[in-house]
């Protein structure tokens, strides 16, 4: 049973096709990186995978169950850090975590313990009276991540979790995520930072113009054995950046389009 299985997932906005027949299988325990340039369809895909956006066509199965709007038991087993972070900014971090725990039906003792532990782990316990609205972007991200994991999800979706987070906090988050993987959780993340994906993820998919152009384990992609769609295989020592650029890099002739007046 795959942790994530989507079949020909498509989303159109009027005439524009943002995601074009994307199919993915993510096995349990995988740390899966989803890469693509701006506007490639990463966030649209993750929104469809988490139920925030209805697909035009295609199906999504998570943890062996079909994702539907009323799949409440399934929603209780997944955690999501969405693009907009889904924060209630007029609450403090502790209040927000208690609210989220209540919505997931955690009992009061578990809520209190996990709230305290998460705030300490995320180093958000220094300003208990401060509203989330007054937090920096990185702090908000940490609150949103804490909320995404407070109920101990088996499957975690993270949309750009490291964007705006400082190096120290990013290190803390990486440690936490790797710990989750070791305990059997599955993580699906999008990121622009190829170095982070390369260091954390065991498997990668690259999306460009709404279509998956390469996917497989990092080793396979490096060695050229991964599934390449319209891309070129390369040297065995290629970095993820090389792989990424080989699939979604500069358009032919783009380099010559210089701004001569600069």
């Amino acid at each position: 049973m795959d942790a994530i299985a989507c079949d020909c997932l498509t989303r159109r906005f009027g005439e524009f096709t943002a995601v074009d027949c994307v199919s993915l299988q993510v096995a349990p325990g995988q740390f899966y990186g989803f890469l693509g340039p701006n506007g490639a369809g990463k966030s649209t895909t993750i929104k469809m995978l988490t139920g925030l956006l209805a697909p035009t066509s295609g199906t999504v199965r998570l943890l062996g169950e079909t994702l539907r709007p009323d799949a409440y038991a399934l929603k209780g087993r997944i955690g999501v850090l969405p693009e907009g972070m889904a924060l209630f900014e007029r609450l403090t971090a502790a209040e927000y975590l208690r609210f989220v725990a209540g919505m997931y039906g955690l009992d009061r003792d578990v809520t209190a313990t996990r709230t305290r532990e998460l705030l300490e782990f995320m180093q958000l316990d220094t300003t208990p009276g401060r509203l989330i609205a007054d937090f920096s972007h990185g702090m908000k991200k940490k609150v949103a991540l804490a909320a995404a994991v407070i109920h101990g999800p088996k499957l975690l979706f993270l949309d750009e979790p490291f964007e705006g987070v400082d190096a120290v906090a990013a290190g803390t988050l990486k440690t936490m995520l790797q710990g989750m993987i070791q305990r059997g959780a599955t993580i699906f993340l999008t990121s622009h930072v190829l170095e982070i994906v390369e260091r954390l993820c065991s498997h990668v998919a690259i999306i460009a113009k709404g279509k998956i152009v390469a996917h497989g384990s990092l080793e396979d992609l490096r060695s050229g054995a991964g599934t390449h769609i319209g891309g070129s295989n390369g040297d065995s020592q290629r970095t993820l950046e090389d792989i990424f650029l080989s699939h979604v890099g500069s358009e032919p002739g783009a380099a010559s389009a210089e701004l001569s007046w600069l």
Partner: protein, 543 residues
């Protein structure tokens, strides 16, 4: 490369005008646009009527030779011009003109642009209309005063403009902080409530507050304190011209110019520092002391269930939402004020004080009930991610609003008891029966509007967001219709000499409205699912 002043000024002016024009755009359909045109026209007419009133009052005072009283007419304009920008700043994003400093701009140009920006603001436009009205009234009353009045008003306007920009420049950095903005907004709102006390305090009567030290103090202040301030100085110029008293005119003119000069100096001082790169800190102080575990779990150890969690979250939001609290307090306050025995229609008001108070009290909840998801902003996404039905979310919010209204109702009943006397037992039962009909109807319509006509709402300020006018108009229409049904039932049966039948009729209507509410709740999940993307686009995007 030298940059011409004309080009820079034109660029800034174009940018400001585009911002004003873009502010009128609506993405919420024709109904919203129509409603906005209607209400803008309505408020413009109200302001024109106020300007006309000022003109008539100015004419009357001038004809009667009461030139000193002209200061009383200039005071509201002065107060509006100084305080409205602060209030507006408290509920909308400010344009930080220090961004202009990265351009090749001299200090004098920067100051000039800063002042000009104040001219292209709503308070300046409103003040110009009001001053025009007053000017026409004065000149109609005594045409020979046209030049003196024009000069007085011109200097008065200059003084106001420089003063408001100086105040704004000093407050600007502080207003960049959310807490300061909210605090100022609340002070202004409660200041409005405080102003309601001035009239009874000033005019005496039987109101208990006029016999207090506060009342006497207000009267004493109003009588003599404002002589050396801009409104009185402007009035002095006109009075001097009317009496042929050159010394009086000079005192007024010099006084106003001194004020303008002082304001200009303060403004220049602040802008000079800004120009040099200094800005008052808007950093939020960080606590360096880690909190104890106890403080992190303070305020409850968790809500335990989705309804409890939402109830708890709504309560915390309410605690921190100044504008909503104001909306809840204001009806009580005004009910207290109209409870004077010399109020016109006191007998009728006293008889129906409880149902009227209850209906009026609900107005404070209107925004919350008819746009219950509007304050969630990006948090709305969480409801689709959490293992909870939207119906549960809406129901929990409805229950919270009912609890809130119950508290409000108890306070209203207390105010009614002490200001109008105890209502009859029949009136109490009839009011409860009416509310059993009215509340489910309000919530049914409110839930539909929340799902179908949601708009982004800032709970900390009385802001007008895109989509708000259409929602508010329909919500108001619903309340009027519910009140019309209640009034028709009550007075129809009273006319038929069977007023006691109103209670069973209201209960029957309550069954119908409750069924409607239940139907809306049962349909909430489906509506929310169909409207998911529209709601996200409206409430989440840009948050």
């Amino acid at each position: 490369m030298a940059v011409s002043w004309r080009d820079q000024a034109a660029a800034v002016l174009r940018m400001r005008l585009r911002m004003l024009a873009n502010g009128t755009r609506t993405r919420s359909g024709k109904f919203e646009l129509t409603a906005r045109i209607f209400w803008s026209g309505f408020f413009l007419l109200l302001w024109l009527a106020a300007a006309l009133g000022l003109g008539v009052a100015g004419y009357t005072y001038v004809r009667a030779g009461h030139f000193g009283e002209l200061a009383l007419l200039l005071w509201p304009i002065f107060a509006m011009w100084q305080f409205l920008p602060i209030m507006l700043a408290s509920y909308r994003e400010n344009i930080d003109l220090t961004h202009l400093l990265r351009f090749p701009l001299s200090f004098s140009r920067y100051v000039t642009l800063f002042v000009i920006f104040g001219l292209v603001e709503l308070p300046a436009a409103l003040a110009a209309i009001a001053l025009c009205g007053l000017y026409i009234g004065i000149v109609a009353g005594r045409p020979a005063l046209w030049a003196a009045t024009l000069a007085a008003f011109a200097v008065f306007a200059l003084c106001n403009l420089l003063l408001t920009r100086a105040i704004f420049a000093w407050l600007d950095r502080m207003l960049a902080q959310r807490r300061t903005r909210e605090l100022l907004g609340m002070l202004f709102l409660f200041g409005f409530l405080g102003l309601q006390w001035l009239n009874p305090a000033y005019h005496g009567g039987h109101n208990v507050f006029t016999t207090t030290a506060f009342g006497r103090a207000v009267r004493a202040l109003a009588a003599g304190w404002h002589g050396p301030l801009p409104p009185a100085l402007a009035a002095r110029i006109i009075a001097g011209a009317a009496a042929g008293n050159a010394a009086g005119m000079a005192i007024g003119l010099v006084g106003l110019l001194l004020f303008a000069g002082l304001a200009g100096a303060l403004l220049t001082l602040r802008l000079r520092r800004e120009y040099a790169g200094e800005a008052l800190s808007d950093a939020v102080p960080m606590s360096s002391h880690p909190s104890s575990a106890a403080s992190l779990t303070r305020g409850g150890r968790g809500a335990g269930s989705p309804v409890g969690a939402i109830f708890s979250k709504e309560f915390l939001y309410l605690k921190r939402s100044g504008a909503v609290l104001y909306g809840l307090v204001a009806p009580l306050f005004l009910l207290f004020l109209i409870g004077q025995k010399d109020t016109p229609g006191y007998t009728v008001i006293a008889q129906f004080a409880l149902p009227l108070g209850a209906t009026y009290g609900f107005l404070g909840l209107t925004r919350l009930v008819s746009n219950s998801l509007g304050g969630e902003s990006a948090g709305l996404q969480f409801y689709w991610l959490a293992p909870v039905r939207i119906r549960t979310v809406i129901l929990a919010k409805n229950l919270f609003h009912i609890a809130l209204f119950a508290c409000e109702l108890i306070l209203i009943a207390v105010v009614v008891r002490f200001r109008f006397g105890a209502p009859s037992r029949f009136m109490v039962v009839a009011t409860i029966a009416y509310l059993l009909f009215a509340l489910p109807a309000q919530f049914a319509m409110g839930d539909l509007l929340s799902l179908r006509m949601a708009y982004r709402m800032t709970l900390t300020r009385m802001s007008r967001e895109p989509g708000a006018v259409a929602n508010a108009s329909l919500s108001l229409l619903t309340q009027i219709m519910i009140l019309a049904v209640g009034t028709a039932v009550f007075f129809g049966l009273r006319w038929w000499h069977r007023p006691h039948l109103a209670i069973p009729v209201f209960l029957l209507l309550a069954v119908v409205s409750s069924a409607g509410w239940a139907w809306v709740l049962s349909a909430a999940d489906g509506i929310a699912e169909r409207r998911r993307e529209a709601l996200s686009a409206t409430l989440v995007r840009g948050s």
